[in-house]
Symmetry: C2
């Protein structure tokens, strides 16, 4: 039941408390936002990447020991250059798609349905991974601040996932304010760390003393090599994920829409660059290396850095709180985007129809469930350790980037307006850079986990195509370009299985006679019981046959079925299938009396034979059987 | 679907491979067994208690350090005395109930339904706990032999549970042989340890050297006190669980039935006494104490003892294998008993009806599922550590013992035959001893976990009574001691919601006219769409109205429903409920076209609106609504 205008009595209040009262469509009014609100809503995802991107690169450098830390600066600069290219590319998408140009839209419109599906699949995976990485990185920050929580990493991850899921099933209308404070606090705290770190570096002539002793990196176990640096770059690229959010949501901005959106994007990217550069430089000067992830004694890089610059005082705990909150909320952005993307794909028939149904709170609940389950599986499989998720992460994001930029190249090629040529080159460079990075990431991280993404994306595409094919087939098969054939309609033969005479049986019998004058009652008799005189046969003449004759109806035909097996269903199924075969032009209606209980849990007290009977008859029959449940309402 | 004579195409082979082909009732032939086969089948549960009973007592004595080990001998002697009393008591039950005298039967027949329910609830809990304790103790033995597996304790427990569940869903016809080898191997190995230990003690004048160094007990942290000894006794009493099995299964023995059953019981109890006494004495002489359970470095008492006596050679590993197998199989006995007990209770209407249905393989599958789920929950909550489960365990078993003996007292009081007086005294002593032990166990272990059992048992009884009340209510409400009223049957009004014209719609319309001449078609129109010309309304005149007129039928009434909400169901529900109110003496049939897919997973592609509509109409209506799904069969 995906849609629930009114819940059955008894369960109403709990649902309302958990999820809030149902909302009507009219309450879906759009808010028009400016850059100040736009930065938190669309920027949190990108900005919070600063909390795991540099760390992901440093983790790869662990085998180099203390020497590895030095490489973080050139690596971060490379990533910043890439980020700048991507920035200019997306500036143009914003102008070209003021109604919102997500990768799926841009790729579908400009590169065709195939590319659209590739972009869609990549994005779907990316959103799922964003939830898992955001939560696991948040918990990573939490256990850095409170090390005694480390053994409970996975439990904490799943708890946060559950909370986010419940919040999002309630709907996220108040998201604006909820995002603003944590985002600005996150930027302010990291900015504070960087600025005070820079001041201390200046004051101490480039060699500041850490406020608390720094965990010294493990001794080097390997020499530096190009391969290691490429892998570190590939991991660090996760810092770029999330920058496409503004271009997806241009329509949310107030007028002048494009200008506001571009100003927002510029601010976000500039801030992200400053954060990445600052973190890299401070890590180098303070000698902060990554600690082995997922083990006892794990300390996130940001935690070490904050403690080294300002000590483990109040500021440390405020900063870590901001980091945890920002990361958890960045996971939350996927909860808005994933269901919307799935809905767009499902609207075109490539994903199951339930993705398009809005639930009680105007949320595409089905998408929320699917996202929560997939992210939960990822967290469980990878035990909530960010480092193990990173290799899967960037592939989807960069594939979508590449397709989006490539789509823009085709867009400009078609447009041919003033400046289209320059724009084409800008997006072309973007496509090239991100395409190259995608290849680098896949190759560098293939063994560590990118192969999973590389398998899942085509798998998803295959799945979506076959869903589409199935819907097309149904449409073709049920098309009816002709008038209804309503002449010569004959009533069905009615089959009614009964074991004992009761008011339920009486109601079913009366309904049987509204359907047809030909009623067959089936009665199961245990093998060997030659002259059955049981709860039905003993009253048959008096309670059934005579009243029928008196009412001028042909009395029902009583058929006794022997059952050598313990199964009740088999003889009924065999009889009905045979009857269907013998009457090639008639419908066979099977009436099954059914108790209607007022509380769902009472259904546990009954067997599901009626359902089983229906499934079996429909699967094995020739299309002329209709199983009808005749409800009997219990009063209490 | 609890009963499945024929599975839908596609899933058949997998089920058959996993669970075996379906069996007919006739294959349920009883085997008649003698004492040699009876000891494994009915004795394994009791005998394997020797593997955790003494250890449970020793674990309580850990705080006493090395001094605690000495107390195991008097404690074990007390337990052996209790066991002897129980033995004589059950000897009499065997004679009095040669058709099988389980606690539930004896208590129901002699003490009334209430006592029967108490015994039933106690036994049900006891069976669930027996599974959990058997498996966890088996895994405890396994990780003692292979310490590197210790961190995976819970995973191993759940894996064994899964295997047992699958085996039992297949049915356990070959159980006899499967039990014989492990049981005799278990007894032989433990006997071997005890005998060789005794020989070494004799040879070394009472001070044998351990073959491998013994983990020295932690230093004493408390002095001995009565309370601690009582708790150790309460834990050790778990060694007595399982001895009721023979009296439950007397009918399985060949003639002379009572004599065979008694001989079996005698052998089992005598063996168990020798094992308990031997283990206690050896522990004392060798100074084997329990190790803290659930922690790294855990070693079961039997593992330490075997290693101390004979070293960690081949014999050690054979013994540990026998212990693991015996414990896992002792868990398996609950898989036979629990579903059978639930069936007996469900037959009297105190548990849901599905417990009485035999599945494909003549197994009461529902009981197996419930047992597996409950035992799995216990294992997860208590992390697969035997010591944490022990406090919950003995309460149920001893309550059932007490009720069974007390029932026998009443039995003899009624019988008044020759020797009835003596028998009454024997059973009275048994009832007194086990009743007293029940109280001791509840009090001594209350805080550690017995409170859970003490809450669950009355909870279960309440549940069973309310199930019974509900069934009685249904029976009363549906009773129909009058002939069928078949005069003046009027056809229903038919309501058919349609969104587009298709072959599915056409079939539903034709079926509607077999039901009644009054057909109302409901069509949802989005709010504001004043002159709808959509997939249905644009073809209405040509495809629906005209053919109806030509066929001489009243054309269907087309009702357009405006929907201000995104919900499609609400307007339909409101309309149908209003219609039902306006026509106080008519049935309202709602036809819902339904696609019949050939593979179950295609159902994920469709929404469940039909189901939702049915539930809502049945819950909110006044009992005159019948929802009929008209199936449309997809050919491919």
């Amino acid at each position: 039941m995906f849609e629930q205008p009114q819940t059955p009595a008894g369960s109403k209040s709990i649902l309302d408390v958990l999820f809030g009262r149902p909302l009507s469509s009219e309450e879906d009014a759009k808010e028009q936002i400016g850059p100040a609100a736009g930065i938190p809503v669309f920027g949190l995802d990108a900005l919070s990447s600063a909390a795991y991107g540099p760390e992901a690169a440093l983790t790869i450098l662990i085998p180099l020991g203390v020497a590895g830390v030095a490489y973080i600066v050139p690596l971060s600069l490379t990533i910043i250059v890439l980020l700048t290219i991507v920035y200019f590319s997306y500036r143009q998408t914003i102008a070209a798609y003021p109604q919102g140009g997500g990768s799926y839209t841009v790729a579908s419109e400009n590169l065709g349905a195939g590319a659209g599906l590739l972009a869609g699949a990549s994005l779907m995976l990316d959103y799922v991974l964003n939830v898992a990485v955001g939560i696991s990185a948040g918990v990573g920050a939490l256990v850095s601040a409170v090390p005694s929580l480390q053994p409970h990493t996975l439990t904490l991850c799943l708890a946060i996932l559950l909370i986010l899921t419940l919040i999002n099933l309630r709907g996220v209308r108040e998201a604006g304010v909820a995002f603003m404070v944590p985002t600005y606090l996150f930027v302010a705290c990291l900015g504070g760390v960087i600025v005070s770190g820079l001041v201390k570096i200046l004051l101490h002539g480039g060699h500041p003393l850490p406020a608390v002793p720094i965990t010294s990196p493990a001794p080097a176990v390997s020499a530096v090599g190009l391969w290691l640096l490429v892998k570190a770059f590939a991991s660090g690229c996760t810092a770029i994920t999330g920058v496409e959010a503004v271009s997806n949501g241009v329509q949310a901005f107030g007028e002048p829409r494009v200008k506001n959106a571009r100003a927002t994007l510029t601010t976000i990217i500039a801030t992200l660059i400053l954060l990445l550069a600052g973190i890299a430089y401070l890590c180098r000067v303070y000698g902060v290396a990554a600690t082995p992830p997922g083990e006892h004694g794990y300390q996130s890089v940001l935690s070490q850095l904050t403690a080294a610059v300002n000590g483990r005082g109040a500021f440390y705990f405020v900063t870590m709180t901001a980091v945890v909150t920002a990361l958890a909320l960045s996971a939350n952005t996927s909860f808005a985007d994933f269901p919307r993307l799935c809905r767009a794909i499902a609207d075109k028939g490539y994903l199951p129809f339930p993705f398009t149904i809005r639930g009680r709170r105007l949320v595409f609940s089905f998408g929320v469930y699917v996202l929560a389950i997939l992210a939960g599986l990822l967290l469980i499989v990878f035990k909530g350790v960010t480092d193990r998720l990173i290799p899967l992460f960037a592939v989807g994001a960069f594939t979508a980037f590449t397709l989006s930029q490539a789509g823009m190249v085709m867009h400009w090629k078609r447009t041919k307006g003033k400046g289209a040529h320059v724009s084409m080159i800008v997006n072309g460079v973007g496509a090239l850079a991100t395409g190259l990075t995608t290849c680098v990431v896949i190759v560098a991280k293939f063994v560590e986990g990118a192969w999973i993404t590389a398998l899942l994306i085509p798998g998803l595409i295959l799945l979506m195509s076959s869903v589409h094919r199935h819907y097309e087939m149904i449409l073709r098969e049920t098309e009816c370009p002709t008038p209804a054939r309503l002449r010569g309609i004959t009533p069905p033969v009615v089959v009614l299985p009964l074991q004992r005479w009761s008011r339920v049986a009486e109601k079913a019998l009366r309904f049987a006679y509204t359907l047809s004058r030909e009623v067959i009652v089936l009665h199961i008799v245990p093998e060997g019981d030659e002259q059955p005189k049981d709860a039905l046969t003993s009253v048959w003449d008096e309670y059934v046959e005579m009243p029928a004759v008196q009412a001028g109806l042909a009395p029902p035909k009583l058929v006794l079925l022997r059952s050598p097996f313990r199964l009740v269903l088999t003889p009924i199924v065999e009889y009905v299938l045979q009857l269907e075969n013998e009457l090639p032009n008639r419908l066979v209606s099977v009436l099954v009396p059914e108790l209607v209980e007022r509380q769902w849990y009472y259904y546990l007290l009954h067997n599901q034979r009626a359902t089983a009977l229906k499934v079996i008859l429909y699967v094995r029959g020739n299309g002329r059987i209709i199983v009808i449940n005749v409800p009997w309402y219990l009063r209490s």
